[in-house]
Symmetry: C2
Subunit: 208 residues, 2 copies
DNA sequence: GGCCACGCTAAGCGCCCGCTCAGCTTCAGC
DNA sequence: GCTGAAGCTGAGCGGGCGCTTAGCGTGGCC
């Protein structure tokens, strides 16, 4: 459990790369609105209002409402790839790296649930080009996890019959955290991360 | 693997209880449209058009667009409860009943992906009253799965540290199938059901 | 001090939304 | 053959949508 930079600073952190300030405020407002109501149910007036601006100000920084979703989705997916890549290319055994990958990925989905919800569940609202770009990032996500599982099979740490199916299931389990996790619920993101790391090690038959 | 009535007749089956015929056609059209584009992005004109009717015809059978979603969601959740209850109250060991529950639940989410998508992912589009009613059905779903896991702990078949957390994870894994399953993909609903039953038995530490 | 580029707003355009309503057709009951 | 109920349509209302445009205030630069 090493890579845990994701929850510091609340839900609005992690957008430091977006400039200028007004564009970042609009983007954060859009993330919150999309997460609460969904992309199609969110109006540009709502986004601008949350950012303390008039509806027209949005169009100075973004060409369309869809460009906002595209930017959010790309930044979020790049973060997801980074989290998994850091864990996958770490130093420990396949067992340690898989546990690390799952727990940090889950912590990101639980702690940054607002962002993760938009990133994982609004993909279909993008147009074909933007969607294709995001799907390429998803294949990188899949490859990182599959790589760790294959490593564990090579070293004899794991016992898995269907590598691709198990990879899919592991990612699916982590991603769905963004759907059900409740900040006011009984579990912290860290607790869910630890529970899920244990469950996933059981799924791959890790010897312990 | 006993309860497998869900995929027969294609995606439009299972609405036999909805009458008259025109109301059922509108409901099926709504399921397809909501699954493809999401509730908010679907227009009443689109639903009526798919059912071969004028937009006004919709309002003879349903008071609002939301009532359509409510009806779909309730029927779908009742079906989900029924599937899990049949498996949970079957005759075999806890191990057999859990495998049966997971594989039939997964087959329903994969084979009836169109319906399952609407049922599982459009809950937030309902108003407070309808949403509360559906959440009660979800608690029944949770209770059935938790019950099997508790049975397996009592008999010593399973080894689980966090019963509620594991129940949540098992259901989450099954439900998310509706998000990623692709009818034209490499796996049949039966194959995914079998794979997931195996993974879940590993998660609960079932002795085999 | 004059100028202009920049960030923003007030107003509003054209469109399509959910939904309504007057009226048409069909058909069972007598 | 007449009547009333049921099922449906064509036309359209009020409103909110995404997005545009003309113009205003402000601060850096010479």
């Amino acid at each position: 459990m090493s890579t845990a930079e994701e929850t510091t600073g609340g839900e609005t952190s992690g957008w430091g790369e977006v400039t200028p300030d007004a564009a970042r405020r609009l983007l954060i407002a859009a993330v919150e609105a999309f997460a609460e109501r969904g992309y199609h149910a969110t109006t540009t007036r709502d986004i601008a209002g949350r950012a303390g601006m008039s509806p027209a100000a949005l169009y100075i920084h973004y060409k369309t409402k869809e460009e906002l979703l595209h930017r959010i989705s790309r930044i979020g997916h790049e973060k997801a790839v980074e989290i998994l890549r850091t864990a996958a290319r770490g130093e420990g055994s396949a067992t340690e790296r898989l546990a690390d990958a799952v727990s940090s990925f889950v912590r990101w989905h639980a702690g940054g649930r607002t962002t993760a919800r938009v990133v994982q569940y609004e993909l279909d609202s993008l147009g074909p080009d933007a969607r294709a770009e995001i799907l390429a990032l998803r294949r990188q996500v899949d490859a990182e996890v599959r790589g760790i599982i294959e490593d564990g099979l090579t070293t004899g740490e794991f016992d898995v019959l269907d590598v691709q199916g198990t990879t899919l299931a592991v990612l699916s389990l982590c991603i769905d955290v963004a759907r059900w996790f409740n900040v006011n619920g009984p579990r912290t993101p860290e607790e869910v991360g630890a529970l899920y790391a244990d469950l996933v090690l059981r799924m791959v038959g890790a010897k312990r």
